[in-house]
């Protein structure tokens, strides 16, 4: 589905090589030491960081130079996922109608998404009034209405407590499954990997290794991964 062909990401002295293919509807976790380039890898997939070499193909179509918005994916960042001065409804609406022109039918869909993340009552509230978990759920509702075939997440729930994080991960998994999208999530936590991922991309030593089945990998990690997991 998404093929990164002989990709090279270069930023100053930093270099990261990657060559892998992601399949539709699968859940991938990206793990690796801090500074290994996990976030950068996602930014490159999403188009925020250009590829220094190699190609990015979506279903055979070359999207190496496509603008971020023109790629069939969406991304949740570590923070700043919402516009603070727009209401919850407006923030979600932007995922559906990037021109703000919401018709009645759109509103139904948005409210449905908000209901699904249990925030229907907060439609007119500004994000500043919400808790961290609630803010994450708004962002998830937007992912839901965006319905892109690939969702990238850069440690989106890092700031949440364990129980809340698990709750969010489950909600995320359900949401993604509902849209049939594939998911790539950067995370630090091995338990997240077990909870959500089908396959794991391990990033280390300037290299993003091709995805390996999560269960097998976590049960019997190679030496580098073992060193990372500790």
């Amino acid at each position: 589905m998404l093929k990164l062909d002989q990709g090279l990401i270069a930023q100053g002295d930093f270099q990261l090589r990657a060559d892998f293919t992601l399949e539709a509807g699968r859940n991938y976790a990206v793990i690796g030491p801090s500074g290994a380039g996990k976030s950068t890898l996602l930014a490159a997939l999403c188009g925020f960081v250009p590829l220094a070499a190699g190609k990015l193909l979506w279903e055979g179509r070359d999207i190496t130079d496509a603008a971020p918005g023109a790629r069939p994916m969406t991304m949740l960042f570590q923070d700043n996922n919402l516009f603070p001065h727009l209401s919850v409804l407006q923030n979600v609406a932007l995922g559906l109608r990037p021109d703000f022109r919401i018709v009645a039918k759109d509103k139904e869909q948005i409210m449905a998404a908000l209901t699904q993340v249990a925030l229907a009552d907060y439609a007119q509230v500004k994000p500043g009034k919400l808790s961290g978990g609630q803010q994450s759920r708004v962002a998830l509702a937007r992912v839901l209405v965006q319905a892109r075939p690939l969702v990238l997440l850069d440690e989106p729930f890092a700031a949440l407590g364990p129980a809340l994080r698990n709750e969010m991960l489950d909600l995320l998994k359900a949401t993604i499954a509902q849209t049939g999208a594939a998911m790539v999530m950067v995370t630090h936590a091995p338990e997240d990997v077990r909870r959500i991922a089908d396959e794991v991309i391990f990033v280390e030593g300037g290299q993003a290794l091709a995805p390996r089945p999560a269960g097998a990998l976590m049960d019997d990690p190679p030496p580098e991964l073992r060193a990372y997991l500790g």
Binding site: F48, P68, L94, D99
Partner: protein
């Protein structure tokens, strides 16, 4: 997440120094006013002519400020999202019209728009009817020439405070330009525009020579002209004080009104990631931006080029005394910068620590007070005790700093509010307060803005004639005064040369401070 932090700011900045600075400014203005009143005899009060002047002043200031800021929006927007060769120079030159002595700028404008100017020359050559610059529209045109570039700089700074994360989010949500404007740019404008409007309004409120010269006659009488007349020709101090008070109340009222509407929602803190922009890559938008930048640059640069050309011709006949005067002016500018920072930083801190932004209006009072009133008032205060000449430089430095205060506050307050909202909580947790807070958080975060404010103050102070005329020390003539003296002695060419020196020095001071603030970062 930064968005949750709205109400935490009040704990972290001590308001004491800021309140003292604000009180000092208030005292300087009010004491001058009281001093003038103390010497007033029976006054004639305000006549029909004065009311006409008040109406005209408010009308032209309202028109000029709205137009200046409206036109500045597309220019700042285009400059914020385009990179091209000469962009840095253009951004620096945005400060130029504002710091030129009025008469120099007016002559530059007339070279282009005047009766025998380039535009009318071209119209005549094409067999078209000529247009006259003189009238209400001329006043507005000149004020837009002076203030639109300034407003552009203020708005551009607003664009720079938008965190890169917002643009990233917009890009990946595929926001249309219109939606992007509404979701990202409009909220920022909501924070920046009211202050910019108030500032330009107050600047235009005290306009005098521009309004009279381009207004085409006594129809274009402003309050400041009436104050001038009351002081200089009628010596009616009561009327002068009354008119000054009207001016202060108008400016203060507008400032309070505008600043009340500045929303307190922060644009949000970002992580200073340097990121390219992905929006507005469409062909049409490129064309529009290029057009906007070209038009603005022409409007700005052509009259400036006229000033420079005239100045180059005058340089050879310029006397040595101009360089002495330039030295004095540079010293005054440096002094003003120091005093300004001592006033503006604590005041900005105080304003940020309050819920509303209304107190910023105190800063605007300094600008809206007639320089003639301040000068005369302080002359009356000092004269019985000491030779006013001994106070020429300190008074000039202080008043120049005060005139620059509202600009500095406008520049410093919004980003300081952001910094405090984003990192204030962190600072409190770390026990960073007082001077340490300035050292660790505020000064480094606001480096760029402090540089900009200092540069603007230096440049403004170089070109200012305000009070120096009354306190003019025969031994230490400033450059603008020297230029006026040259003009008064038929030395128009030498005066043009002096104006060029003034322009270059002002821009130099501005550029050094601004560059120093920006460091190596790209604007």
């Amino acid at each position: 997440m930064a968005q949750g932090a709205v109400a935490i700011s009040r704990v972290s900045i001590s308001p004491k120094t800021g309140i003292s600075a604000a009180l000092l400014v208030l005292a300087l203005i009010l004491l001058a006013l009281v001093a003038v009143l103390s010497r007033a005899d029976a006054s004639t009060g305000l006549g029909a002519g004065d009311w006409a002047a008040i109406r005209f002043t408010v009308a032209q200031a309202a028109c000029s400020s709205v137009l200046s800021v409206l036109l500045a929006v597309p220019v700042a927007r285009a400059l914020a999202r385009r990179r091209f060769i000469g962009r840095g120079a253009l951004v620096t030159l945005l400060g130029a019209p504002f710091i030129l002595p009025v008469i120099v700028a007016v002559l530059g404008l007339l070279t282009v728009f005047g009766r025998s100017g380039w535009i009318n020359g071209a119209l005549e050559a094409l067999g078209l009817p000529t247009v006259s610059i003189y009238g209400f529209h001329g006043v507005v045109l000149a004020h837009v020439f002076f203030n639109m570039p300034l407003a552009t700089r203020l708005l551009l700074q607003g664009w720079q405070t938008i965190p890169a994360e917002r643009f990233r989010l917009s890009a990946q949500l595929r926001l249309t330009p219109r939606a992007m404007f509404r979701a990202v740019e409009l909220p920022m404008l909501g924070q920046v525009v009211p202050g910019a409007l108030a500032l330009v309004f107050v600047i235009c409120l005290t306009s005098f020579a521009v309004a009279l010269t381009l207004g085409g006659g006594p129809r274009a009488t402003t309050i400041e002209l009436a104050i001038y007349q009351a002081f200089r020709f009628d010596f009616d101090l009561g009327r002068a004080a009354l008119l000054s008070l009207v001016q202060l109340v108008l400016a203060g009222g507008i400032a309070l009104l505008a600043l009340r509407f500045v929303p307190m929602v922060s644009v949000g803190g970002g992580l200073d990631r340097l990121m390219p922009r992905w929006d507005a890559q469409g062909g049409m938008q490129r064309v529009v931006d290029a057009g906007v930048i070209t038009l603005a640059a022409l409007f700005l640069l052509v009259p400036l080029a006229a000033v420079v050309m005239r100045g180059l011709l005058g340089l050879p006949v310029m006397p040595v005394s101009v360089y002495h005067a330039a030295g004095v002016s540079v010293a005054v500018a440096l002094g003003s910068i120091i005093v300004l920072l001592a006033l503006a930083l604590p005041m900005a801190g105080w304003i940020v620590s309050r819920k509303g932004g209304g107190m910023e209006a105190i800063g605007l009072l300094g600008l809206s007070a007639s320089p003639l009133m301040i000068g005369t008032g302080w002359f009356i205060v000092i004269n019985p005790y000491a030779d006013p000449f001994d106070f020429a430089l300190p008074v000039t430095v202080l008043v120049n700093a005060m005139m620059a205060l509202p600009f500095a506050l406008r520049i410093l307050v919004p980003p300081m509010r952001d910094a405090v909202q984003a990192y204030g909580r962190l600072s409190v947790m770390l026990g960073v307060t007082g001077w340490k807070l300035w050292q660790v958080l505020l000064l480094p975060r606001l480096r760029r803005q402090i540089g900009f404010a200092a540069g603007l103050t230096g440049a403004l102070s170089m070109g200012d004639l305000g009070v120096i005329a009354l306190f003019a020390d025969p031994e230490r003539v400033t450059l603008p005064l020297q230029m006026v003296r040259l003009m008064g002695a038929y030395q128009m060419d030498a005066a043009a040369g002096a104006a060029l020196v003034l322009l270059v020095l002002s821009l130099g001071v501005f550029w050094i401070c601004d560059k120093g603030g920006r460091g190596c970062a790209e604007t």
